[in-house]
Symmetry: C4
Amino acid sequence: MPSEYFNVPLRHVAIGNQDEFRQPGAVKAALAEFFSTLIFVFAGEGSGMAYNKLTGDAPNSPSGLVAAAIAHGLGLFVAVAISANISGGHVNPAVTFGLFLGGNISLFRGILYIIAQLLGSVVACLLLWFSTGGLETSAFALGAHVSVWNAFVFEIVMTFGLVYTVYATAVDPKKGEIGIIAPIAIGFIVGANILAGGAFTGASMNPAVSFGPALVSFTWTHHWGVLGWASGWWWSCWYCL
Amino acid sequence: MPSEYFNVPLRHVAIGNQDEFRQPGAVKAALAEFFSTLIFVFAGEGSGMAYNKLTGDAPNSPSGLVAAAIAHGLGLFVAVAISANISGGHVNPAVTFGLFLGGNISLFRGILYIIAQLLGSVVACLLLWFSTGGLETSAFALGAHVSVWNAFVFEIVMTFGLVYTVYATAVDPKKGEIGIIAPIAIGFIVGANILAGGAFTGASMNPAVSFGPALVSFTWTHHWGVLGWASGWWWSCWYCL
Amino acid sequence: MPSEYFNVPLRHVAIGNQDEFRQPGAVKAALAEFFSTLIFVFAGEGSGMAYNKLTGDAPNSPSGLVAAAIAHGLGLFVAVAISANISGGHVNPAVTFGLFLGGNISLFRGILYIIAQLLGSVVACLLLWFSTGGLETSAFALGAHVSVWNAFVFEIVMTFGLVYTVYATAVDPKKGEIGIIAPIAIGFIVGANILAGGAFTGASMNPAVSFGPALVSFTWTHHWGVLGWASGWWWSCWYCL
Amino acid sequence: MPSEYFNVPLRHVAIGNQDEFRQPGAVKAALAEFFSTLIFVFAGEGSGMAYNKLTGDAPNSPSGLVAAAIAHGLGLFVAVAISANISGGHVNPAVTFGLFLGGNISLFRGILYIIAQLLGSVVACLLLWFSTGGLETSAFALGAHVSVWNAFVFEIVMTFGLVYTVYATAVDPKKGEIGIIAPIAIGFIVGANILAGGAFTGASMNPAVSFGPALVSFTWTHHWGVLGWASGWWWSCWYCL
C-alpha cells in the first residue's frame, strides 16, 4: 500500500483493551509521542524564550511572529515525521481525541498517548527552564482587546484546520501519494496559523503545548482553560463520513 | 498511474450537466473547496490583521512582507494538499477558470467551485472579524505611485506564474513524480510573488482572496475590480497545447 | 524508471545538430526555460525592488536578506519544478554550461537554452520596470570592503554548490528517490547562499539573473563581468566522473 | 526497497578494515562528506558574518535568528540531500558517531568521515575569510547568564533531537516513504532548534560547525569544548533497539 506510514488501526470508535498498556507496541508508540512532543515543544517554546531574551521581554513584533511560526512549523513537521511510523505522529491531544472520535485509535491507547504528550511538554519546559539559566517558560496569553470568546472561536477555527489537515493528508485511506508530504503539511498549517493567531491568542492549537509552560511557570489564568478546550476537533469529522 | 491525486476529468471545454449539482461527488468537492479556501484565507488575511495589530497599523515593511509571504505560501500549500484528492485543489477562481478553458473541468462544476471559494473567503473574514474583537479585514490596496495599469500588469504576470505552476505540476498528464510536490510548488510561488508584489498591488492573484475582505469591510474601490480581473489565466494555455 | 523527470539525454560532450532548432521538442524546451526564468527573476528581482520601495532605498538589513532569500529560494524551486519535465529545469546559464561540460546537453540545445534564459530575465525586468511605475531594476553590486577578487571567489564557491546540487539530485542516474525533492534542493541552496553572499556580492550564482537587471537599468560596472564569469561550473565535474 | 538512498551497511558495531581507506567507495564517500560540509558551513557561517557586516556587529536579534535558522536549515537539507546516495549524508561528526554506536558505520569509515567533515568546515571558513575581505569567522559563544552547564544541557537536548531525526527518517529500515523527505526533516530540525538555542548557546549541534570557525579565528574558549562534547548521540539509541 503506497504512502501508508501512518498507523490507522481502527475505523470506528473503540474502547480498546487495558492489556494494550502491556503491549510493547503501545508502550513504544507512547514513548515516540513523548519524545516527539518533547522535541517539538523544546524548539517552539524555546523560540519564544529566545525572543524574550534578545528583546528584553519586548512586546511581540512581526519578526517575533515569523520566528515563532518557523520554529513551530518546522519543529512540528519533524516531530510528526519521526513518530509517524511508530505512533501515527499525533504530537497533540486534540489530534488524538479527533482520531478517537473518528474511530482511528482506541480509548486506552488514546489516553496513553495524551499522558505521554503532556509529559513530553512538561519535561521540555523543565529542560528549557534549566538550560536557559532559569528563565520563565512563558504561558499563553490573550492579546489586548481580545475577549475569551474571541479567543475561543479563534482557536476553534485554527485547530479545525489542523485536524482537518491530519485527516486529509495522513488518515484518509484514499490519500494516495499526498501522504508522502503529510508531515510537512501538518507542521506548516500550524506555522501559517501562528502568523495570524499568534498576536491574538498565542495560537496554541494544542493542549499539550499550553499545558507544559503553564505548569512549569505555574500560571493558571482562564486563558489556559480557553485554549485547552477550544479544540475544533469535533467539527472535523465531516471528512471521515 | 503514479502521482494522480489531482482530479483531471476532462481534456476539452465542456458545459457539464446541471445534474452534477445533485451528485454527491460534486457537492463533496465544493465543500472541500469551501473549507480549503476558508483555512487559507483565515491564515493569510489573519496574518495581515496581526501585522496591523502588532505595529499599530504601521506602513508595510520587509518583515511584514516576509510574514505575509510565509502565511500565504504555507497556507495555500496546505489548502491545496487537503483538497487535491477530492476537488483537485483549486482554492482560487482564477485557477478554476483556467482549468475550465483548458478543458479540465466542466462549466457547471466550475461555477459550483467558484461559489464555494467565494463563500469560504467571506466566512473566513467574518470569523476573523469576530475573533479579533472586531478588527477591520483590510482590503487590498495599491502602493504609492502605482497606477491601475501598473497593478493590472503586475497581477497578470503573477497570476500567470501561478496558473502555469498548477498546469505544469498538477494537471499535466506527463508530470510524473513532480506531482508529489505539486501542492508545495503551488503554495510557494504565491509566497515568492508576495515578496515582490505585496508592496505594489497587495499580490492577490486570487479573486476569492480579494473578495472576502472587500465584502466584509465593504471597501469597493477600483482596486478590487483591477485585481479581480487581472487574471493571467488565458495566457497559460500554451502549456495545454 | 523512478524519479526520472529531468531530461538527461547525453552522457558525453556533444555538438548536437543545428536541425534541433527546428525540432518541436527543442523549441518547447527553450520556451519552458524562457517562462521559468521569467517567473523566477520576476519574483526575485521584484522582491529587491519591493525592499527598496518599502524602506526608501535603505541599506540592506537582515530582514531584507531574509526576504531576498525566501523570494529567490521559493521562486527557483518553482521555476525548476515547472520546467523539469520539458527542458530539464536549468533556469541558469551556469547550469546549462555545467551540464554541457558533463555531456548532458548538446552544444546547440545549450545555446538555445541560454538565449531563452537571458531573454526571460530581460522580459521579467521590463515587466517589473513597467508594473512598478518605472522603478529601477537594481543591478548587483559589491558590498563595502569587498574587492573584485573576493567577490569572484565568493561567487565561485556558491555557484559550485548550486551546480553540485543539480548534479547530485537531478542528473545523477543513481539519484533514486532523492530526485523527487530535487527542485526543492536546487531552489533552497540558492536561498541559503543568499543569506551568506547577499551582503557581499549580491549572490547571483546565475548570469541570467545578473544580465536582465544590468541591461534594463543599463548598469555595466565591472561587477557584472565578475559575477557573470565567476561560475564554479567547471569544478563541479568531479561528480560526473 | 523503496526510499533506500541512505547507505546503511551494518547493523552492529564494527571496527571495519583499514583497507577501506584504499577502497574507491570509501574515498568517494569521504569526498562527498567534505564537499557537503563545506557547502553547509559556507552558507551557515557566512550568514552569521553577513549579519555582523550589515548590522555593524550588533547583538543578535529575532531577525538575525531567523536568518541563521533559514541559512542552516536549508543548507543542511541540501548538504544531506546531495551526499545521501554516496556517503549516507552525515555532514556531522555527532551523527557519524551516533551511527557508529548504532552499528551503522564501521570505525575506520567513521574516522574517515569525521576527518573529511572537519576539513570541509575549515576550508569553508578559510574561503569565507578570504572572500569577505578578511572578516572574522566568529566562533560560537554563550549568551549572557548562560552557564557552561546550562549550555551543555541545551546542546544535549538539541543534538539528541537531531540524531533521533536521522535515525527515524533515514536509518530505520522500516521508515518507508518517509525517507523521501528525510533530508528536509534533518535540515529543518536544526533550523527550528536554532530559533530556540541560537540566543543561548549558538545552537551548534555539530562539532564540525564549531571547529572550523574556532580554528580559523583561533578562538579556543571553554565554549568550544562544551559544544564539542555536548553531543546527545548516545541517548538516541533507544530507536535502534
